[in-house]
């Protein structure tokens, strides 16, 4: 016993000693040494590792150390790290999270570096660079990729239902009767007896295949769930974007759209909300339990990977204004304000925002890089893999996208809107109840 105790004491002392000198090069040059970089999407890890190696070749005195953490743990770890002074020098940042980082002074402004190194902000797809300018007019990120929304559909189910792919790619929608979008969804829905959703005698309480998959109520954003519908009605999330201070969830047009969408679950064309808890919408699609899923372009790999499922991708339906619509969201790499390697960190972030790195990312066919010319390269790479991604790129080309709404108080708004939207989609409250939620949301900006 005594021996083990002694050994433990020695080990503990050793760990202490090691950790004391483990943090290493604390002093010295902020343009040299090791820069830490965090990201959440492991699918992109090989691409960024390649970028890091190339970067090291060009700058031999800087090494980039990449740590990847899954989305679920990523933000908790990051905020913890910021609170405890152990956050990474650079990290992949998300539009829904970055306003709060800016408010808390956790991000380093990149303006001086962008100016000094003549970074061309015009090389990015239009609008993406503006997303990362804070309310103070300072730049907190350089765009690295973007995503839009599309409809993943099961080709075999479509063929069986007698719907051509051409029809699927030219759907129309309106909030009154749902247009051909609802007709197709209804026709693709099959109950346990083989009756289709638009046939008499359809049993909406025993559905075998849903026409449309459901992931969640979408909270206040509805990025992949309903924003491609509300976007065609002229409705916008906020009074202005970015940095709006008033939300529009009390708008009757918006509430009508949500009411229509929630009615699909009531008609049996879409799963009930309570069945989505803990389930994966994509896996249900892979299991043949849904014919159409609306989802983001970052899910291309997931959907095209399912064995035994023939997947096609259609653009979102044309809506009331005669156009399609999709939320346009982008990621960027940010530098943490507490970094000890400021110059090296900024250099690395500039590199991931540059053509050299984004072409590497493009070649791996995982996401669409932010630089326009690299986007085309990514589309080619996807094509070589046998995936037609025009449903996603078309919206950017036709300029039918609207930018991800950026405001302060994002997590508090989510805390108000998630239960409110859940109640509407599960049929527990009418869509008009969102007016109250909207009051609570807008009260956050009055403080």
């Amino acid at each position: 016993m005594k021996k083990t105790l002694g050994a433990i004491a020695v080990a503990a002392a050793a760990t202490l000693a090691l950790s004391a000198c483990g943090s290493g090069q604390g002093s010295g040059d902020s343009a040299k040494g090791e820069v830490s970089y965090w990201m959440w999407d492991a699918n992109q890890l090989p691409a960024y590792q390649q970028c890091a190696d190339d970067f090291h070749k060009a700058n031999p005195d800087i090494t980039v150390k990449i740590t990847q953490t899954g989305w679920d743990d990523y933000w908790g770890k990051l905020t913890n790290g910021m609170a405890s002074g152990t956050a990474p020098d650079t990290f992949a940042d998300h539009l829904s999270k970055y306003p709060e980082f800016v408010t808390n002074g956790q991000l380093l402004a990149l303006d001086d570096a962008v100016k000094a190194d003549n970074v061309d902000l015009g090389q990015y797809n239009s609008g993406l660079a503006d997303l990362w300018v804070g309310p103070d007019g300072k730049r907190y990120g350089l765009p690295k990729d973007w995503d839009t929304i599309g409809l993943f559909y099961n080709k075999d189910m479509l063929a069986k239902a007698g719907i051509s792919e051409d029809q699927m790619k030219n759907l129309t929608w309106n909030p009154q009767d749902g247009g051909s979008y609802e007709k197709v969804i209804a026709h693709l829905t099959i109950d346990k007896n083989g009756k289709r959703g638009d046939e008499p005698g359809f049993d909406k309480n025993n559905v075998a295949v849903y026409g449309l998959g459901l992931e969640s109520s979408g909270s206040g954003m509805g990025q992949t769930q309903w924003s491609f519908l509300t976007g065609t009605t002229g409705w916008t999330h906020t009074d202005k974007n970015p940095w709006g201070t008033k939300y529009n969830y009390d708008d009757p047009t918006f509430q009508q759209t949500i009411a229509w969408w929630a009615s699909l679950a009531d008609k049996g064309y879409m799963p009930k909300l309570e069945t989505t808890v803990g389930a994966s919408m994509a896996d249900n699609f892979g299991a043949g339990k849904a014919a159409i899923n609306s989802s983001g372009s970052w899910m291309i790999g997931q959907y095209t990977g399912y064995k035994g499922v023939n997947v096609g991708i259609a653009p979102t339906p044309v809506g009331t204004d005669g156009k399609r619509s999709s939320m346009f969201n982008g990621l960027a790499d940010s530098v943490w304000a507490g970094t000890k390697k400021k110059d090296a960190a900024v250099k690395w972030v500039e590199y991931t925002g540059s053509k050299a790195c984004q072409d590497v990312v493009a070649s791996k066919a995982v996401v669409f890089p932010a630089i326009s010319s690299s986007t085309d390269k990514a589309a080619e790479a996807f094509k070589a893999k046998g995936v037609d991604v025009s449903a996603f790129t078309q919206q950017v080309k036709d300029k039918t996208t609207f930018l991800f709404p950026i405001t302060d108080n994002a997590s508090k708004i989510d805390g108000i809107m998630k239960p409110a939207m859940d109640a509407v989609v599960s049929g527990k409250a009418p869509a008009s109840s969102l007016t109250d939620a909207n009051k609570q949301v807008n009260a956050l900006f009055q403080q």
């Binding site: 016993m1 083990t4 105790l5 433990i8 080990a11 503990a12 760990t15 202490l16 090691l18 950790s19 004391a20 959440w40 999407d41 492991a42 699918n43 890890l45 090989p46 590792q49 740590t67 990847q68 953490t69 899954g70 989305w71 679920d72 743990d73 770890k77 913890n80 405890s84 152990t86 992931e215 992949t224 994966s280 919408m281 994509a282 896996d283 249900n284 699609f285 892979g286 299991a287 043949g288 989802s295 983001g296 970052w298 899910m299 790999g301 997931q302 990977g305 399912y306 064995k307 035994g308 499922v309």
Partner: protein, 306 residues
């Protein structure tokens, strides 16, 4: 079931009525076994499937599109590109490092916690001192505090000590005692016979010596039980190691499993990889239980005199 049915001593076949009962008993037993073993089987079946085929074959009892890829991912034998192609996360998994971390973390905390808790339990059970029972009640009271309450203060303390991402920071909160362990050992010490202890005292032995030479050797069985229980609990500990040991060098297995979770918002986890890793990381505990499981059952009926 009456005891007579358990051991049939006569050479004649037992009466029919008994067989009936026995059949029912066996059926119930078989059912219970099936219910508890089936999930394990499902884990194994999923681990031996290929990820992309899982969704389409969710009702199949046999592995969907048999593949050992999941286990290759767990042991880090696949290139990231190949792992991604198979529906894995492609994140690097330093399995042996995590295993070593888990062993050090669990081993250290188990040895220390059992040792110090035994000492405290001895003091509570055998020594008479002022306020003893009040202090003990206080100790028991701390069992009512959910660990999540202490997570943040502990985290800040460890951070201010500069021990984040060190093994010491990882084991600190568990090192000295847990109320349950003290309670458990105290119950046992209370039942130990006083004669041996008194004899030792007459021979001039001090508490220190009595504790080490008489009490501890006699308490081998409950100590083994407690060690096993602590080991299992520590092996499965997740939240604290996630907070404090997020670095590769201090990441334990439970936290390491996180790389199989969804990597992007809305993404589905690498199910087969997750199940393979869960299986592999549960093995040490299963082996321990197989080896010492009898001890646990036996020690509960232990009466303290040898």
């Amino acid at each position: 079931m009456p005891a007579s049915t358990v051991t049939v001593r006569s050479h004649r076949p037992a009466p029919r009525r008994l067989n009936w009962r026995r059949a029912i008993a066996w059926t119930l037993l078989a059912l219970a076994i099936a219910v508890s073993v089936l999930p394990f089987y499902w884990v194994l079946r999923t681990a031996l499937s290929s990820n992309h085929a899982l969704a389409a074959n969710s009702a199949n009892l046999l592995p969907a599109d048999f593949s050992l890829g999941a286990f290759e991912r767990v042991f880090g034998l696949q290139s990231p590109a190949q792992a991604v192609a198979e529906g894995g996360s492609g994140a690097s998994i330093n399995f042996w490092q995590y295993l070593a971390n888990s062993l050090v973390f669990t081993g250290t905390t188990t040895i220390c916690a059992v040792f110090f808790s035994s000492m405290a339990a001895y003091a509570f059970a055998r020594l008479r001192w002022k306020g003893r029972n009040a202090v003990f009640s206080l100790f028991l009271g701390t069992m009512l505090v959910p660990p999540i309450f202490t997570a943040l203060p502990n985290f800040l303390l460890v951070k201010n000590l500069g021990l984040l991402n060190t093994m010491l920071g990882l084991v600190l909160p568990y090192l000295f005692m847990t109320p349950f362990a003290i309670f458990f050992m105290r119950q046992f010490f209370l039942n130990m016979s006083r004669e041996v202890e008194e004899a030792a005292m007459l021979d001039g032995a001090r508490h220190w010596r009595i504790f080490f030479q008489i009490v501890l050797p006699n308490a081998a069985a409950p100590i083994a039980t407690l060690a096993l229980l602590t080991f299992m609990g520590q092996w499965n500990e997740y939240f604290w190691p996630l907070l404090v040991g997020s670095d590769e060098s201090t990441r334990v297995l439970t936290v390491g499993l996180g790389v199989f979770k969804s990597q992007s918002p809305q993404g589905a986890p690498d199910w087969s990889g997750l199940m393979a890793a869960t299986l592999v990381s549960a093995l040490p505990v299963l082996i321990l239980f197989a080896a010492f499981g009898k001890r646990i059952v036996n020690s509960i009926g232990f009466n303290g005199t040898k």
